[in-house]
């Protein structure tokens, strides 16, 4: 049955009200407040925020509610839409009023709920009541929502804000259109575009590391390492379709190889960076092989849990008393020697360039494989393992190969990061790290390079950018992840298969290069045209 528009807008209001209550209870409003306060330079803290800031927050939320509910009633008349926004405002305001009403009660009865709801200090509750006495504060809260929602409605009706909806839609399709635009146009134009693009890219890559200081070098460097891991995992999950949850284990193996070979404690072997790098990659790959060998029969989530277990096993062992003498135990390995250039150790800039090179290499390899017989075999396995097998693909071999190569990528990333941080400890090898990489490739769009790049920035860059909101950043991150999946389930940049240029009229058979193709000569001209 269809709800009336009033009922709908009432519900909208309720939802916004609930969101508001949640925000107040986690003192998110105060955080926004203190951000605003920072901008206008007023002292304010989470425990006793500036009243003005809280009002500002409430107004913003109210406006949003009003606009949302007015936009929702697209087909209705302006009057009704205003009414809708009013209803929304009142229902959300009602909830807000109830909340602060309870606050007022606690203040009067002098109950301190902080033992349970940690943010509700008395000054905070005062501030939420706009430090007004008695009913005034409650009414004030109610009317902030009511009025701002109404204003929101006016905005929509006034000079119409359907813009919002369409903007959202555009944002949704932006990457697709953008790519399409790049792909469009004459071959020559495309070529020029391509060259210009790469030239600019090169200039950027050449200049930026020198310019943007150690912090951004570090952040972008980490992103780079995650790109490498993302590509590696993409070979396993994106191409060959095996869900692996303990991917970080291979990273750990690479990192510890580098660490144990190039740190004074515990072994003081001092192989130097480059041989250690090679060995790190090889050992990680070998680990992938040994893990994969017995598990080829497993499919889907069984493989997932086993690899998850593998990751945990590696982490626990690295942390355990058993291997302390070997791997440094919980203390990890410190003072790892990095590579040297002209006799002096790498600076952050040097590392940046090293990582850029590694990323370029990883991209190259990934790209080559993706469009080869091997890559096609992987995709076939992902699409339908049984049929792939019946078509003559040795699925075991190729699944194993994917695991081995993917693990190698992780080893590379691990080795570099160990040298860059000059430290590696079991603390970094947590399950969440594996999950981060998985999220990276899925958020970005599985099985393609631009997606992986974007995903890496989203997952490693975003939390850095969100630093301003301190404790709220992981909350925001989680919410974004869900929203992301709902809005763009196929990832920011959906994969699409390459367009091979196919011969127009088929030249005489060159099947000599194909083994035993001699037996069978496909027709030169075909009957259907």
């Amino acid at each position: 049955m269809k709800k009336t528009y009033l009922r709908q807008s009432f519900d909208t209001g309720i939802i916004f009200g609930i969101v508001h209550i949640f925000c107040v209870l986690i003192a998110f409003n105060a955080m926004l407040g203190s951000l605003l306060a920072k901008i206008v330079n007023v002292t304010s803290s989470l425990t006793s925020p500036a009243v003005g800031a809280l009002i500002a927050y409430a107004v913003i939320l109210g406006l949003w509610a009003g606009i949302a509910s007015a936009l929702r009633q697209r087909e209705l008349s302006d009057g009704k839409r205003l009414l809708a926004s009013l209803v929304t405002g009142s229902s959300s305001g009602l909830l807000a009023a109830v909340l602060v009403g309870i606050f007022q009660l606690m203040l009067i009865l002098n109950i301190n709920p902080r033992d349970y709801l940690t943010n509700l200090s008395l000054p905070f509750m005062q501030a939420c009541l706009y430090s007004l006495p008695g009913l005034l504060g409650i009414l004030a809260n109610f009317f902030t929502f009511l009025i701002s929602a109404f204003v929101g409605g006016l905005l929509v009706v006034g000079w119409n804000l359907h813009g919002f909806a369409s903007i959202r839609h555009q944002i949704n399709n932006a990457p697709k259109n953008w790519i399409a635009k790049l792909r469009s146009g004459s071959a020559k134009k495309q070529l020029i575009q391509k060259y210009v693009f790469y030239a600019l890219l090169f200039v950027l890559i050449a200049i930026l590391p020198l310019e943007w200081g150690s912090y951004w070098n570090y952040v972008i460097g980490t992103v780079g390492l995650y790109v490498i891991m993302g590509l590696g995992l993409n070979i396993i999950v994106g191409l060959s379709g095996q869900l692996v949850l303990g991917y970080i284990a291979f990273f750990a193996i690479g990192a510890y190889t580098m660490a144990l070979l190039n740190a004074p404690i515990p072994h003081n072997l001092m192989w130097g960076f480059w041989p250690a790098l090679v060995l790190a990659i090889l050992l990680a790959a070998l680990a992938g092989f040994l893990l994969g060998l017995p598990l080829m029969r497993l499919r889907g989530d069984y493989l997932a849990i086993v690899t998850l277990g593998f990751g945990e096993i590696i982490r626990i062992l690295l942390n355990s008393d058993l291997l302390t003498s070997f791997s440094g135990g919980p203390r990890g390995v410190q003072g790892i020697h990095g590579p040297t250039i002209f006799g002096q150790v790498f600076s952050d800039v040097n590392y940046m360039y090293l990582i850029i090179l590694a990323v370029a290499l990883a991209m190259y390899v990934y790209n080559r494989l993706q469009h080869s017989r091997t890559g096609r075999a992987w995709l076939a396995i992902r699409e339908d393992e049984t049929v792939a097998r019946a078509t003559g693909v040795n699925t075991n071999k190729y699944k194993l190969l994917a695991l081995v190569i993917g693990a190698g990528f992780a080893g590379l990333a691990g080795a570099i990061s160990a040298a860059m941080n000059q430290f590696i400890g079991p603390g970094d090898q947590s399950l969440m790290a594996s999950i981060n990489v998985l999220c990276e490739i899925i958020v970005g769009g599985m099985g393609n390079i631009p997606g992986t790049l974007l995903g890496a920035f989203a997952l490693k860059g975003l939390p850095e950018l969100l630093r301003e909101v301190e404790n709220f950043r992981m909350l925001a991150f989680g919410a974004l992840l869900v929203a992301m999946m709902i809005l763009r389930p196929e990832g920011l940049i959906p994969s699409q298969r390459p367009t091979l240029e196919l011969p127009e009229e088929t030249p005489p058979a060159t099947s000599s290069t194909l083994t035993d193709a001699a037996k069978i000569k496909p027709p030169e001209e075909n009957p259907h045209d």
Partner: protein
């Protein structure tokens, strides 16, 4: 005896209680079209699965060119020269059509991941050649110009043809077609039958066919085997089969034989 490319000797496949295929003998001469018919659930597809190695029969043995297939993995069997299509179309739906055919060629190519990374001559030549051959197969089955369209976005009939192109890509000696004309209109059906004939006549591929459309079956088969409830109830040329009362009963139920006689006399 050597003329038979495939020999099923007393092949028996049991699922739990029920015997899907029961002591079935099938001998298929080289470069012939051999049809397996029978009512639904007669065990036709199960027999296919035994041949292409999805199932290993409980009793009996399948010989391909005199070599027993027991214990061989499906990919090994495929690379021996047996390839097949599926009753419910099973393409690599997110790959393009040409890529589907290229996967079909997989086991004939020699290029490896190392070649791909180093972009060796072998990689380049093989890619070029295999793409060319792939395109020719696409043209052969009548999908010219559709090389770069994703398999999933193709019409039903085209998908069936693509499945055949993929099977041909692996350069088979024996081709198992599971209801190739199912759900096709008469026009498409005609084209398909023509296609199947050409496969035998031009390339000498042996074809085993599961088919419900009797016109097709009687039209193109050299030999027909009839399965019913897992048992082979008849075997022979189309003429013999048409005359065989047991077959007619299997299809038309008891008394059907007489009915059919009457019908044929009237003709």
């Amino acid at each position: 005896m050597t003329e038979n490319i495939i020999e099923c000797r007393e092949v028996t496949k049991i699922f739990g209680g029920l015997t899907a295929v029961n002591k079935v003998d099938v001998f298929v001469p080289k470069s012939s079209i051999f049809s397996i018919i029978g009512p639904n659930g007669a065990g036709k597809t199960t027999l296919f699965n035994c041949i292409s190695g999805f199932y290993t029969p409980e009793h009996g043995e399948v010989y391909f060119e005199g070599e027993p297939l027991r214990g061989k993995t499906t990919d090994a069997i495929a690379s021996m020269g047996i390839s097949r299509t599926y009753q419910n179309i099973r393409l690599f739906s997110n790959l393009t059509t040409i890529e589907n055919v290229l996967v079909g060629q997989h086991h004939r190519l020699r290029e490896t991941w190392v070649d791909a990374i180093l972009n060796t001559r072998r990689y380049q030549t093989e890619e070029k050649a295999s793409i060319q051959e792939g395109v020719r197969w696409l043209n052969f089955v009548g999908l010219q110009g559709l090389g770069n369209t994703p398999a999933r976005s193709m019409p039903y009939g085209a998908q069936r043809r693509l499945e055949i192109a993929r099977a041909l890509g692996s350069n088979p000696k024996l081709l198992l077609l599971d209801e190739p004309t199912a759900g096709m209109n008469p026009q498409e059906t005609l084209e398909m039958t023509a296609l199947i004939r050409r496969l035998r006549d031009e390339f000498g591929i042996t074809i085993i066919l599961i088919e419900h459309d009797m016109h097709v079956v009687m039209g193109i088969s050299d030999h027909i085997a009839v399965l019913d409830f897992g048992l082979k109830i008849a075997d022979g040329t189309p003429k013999e089969i048409q005359a065989n009362p047991r077959v007619i009963e299997a299809y038309l139920g008891p008394g059907g034989a007489a009915l059919a006689k009457k019908y044929s006399r009237n003709k």
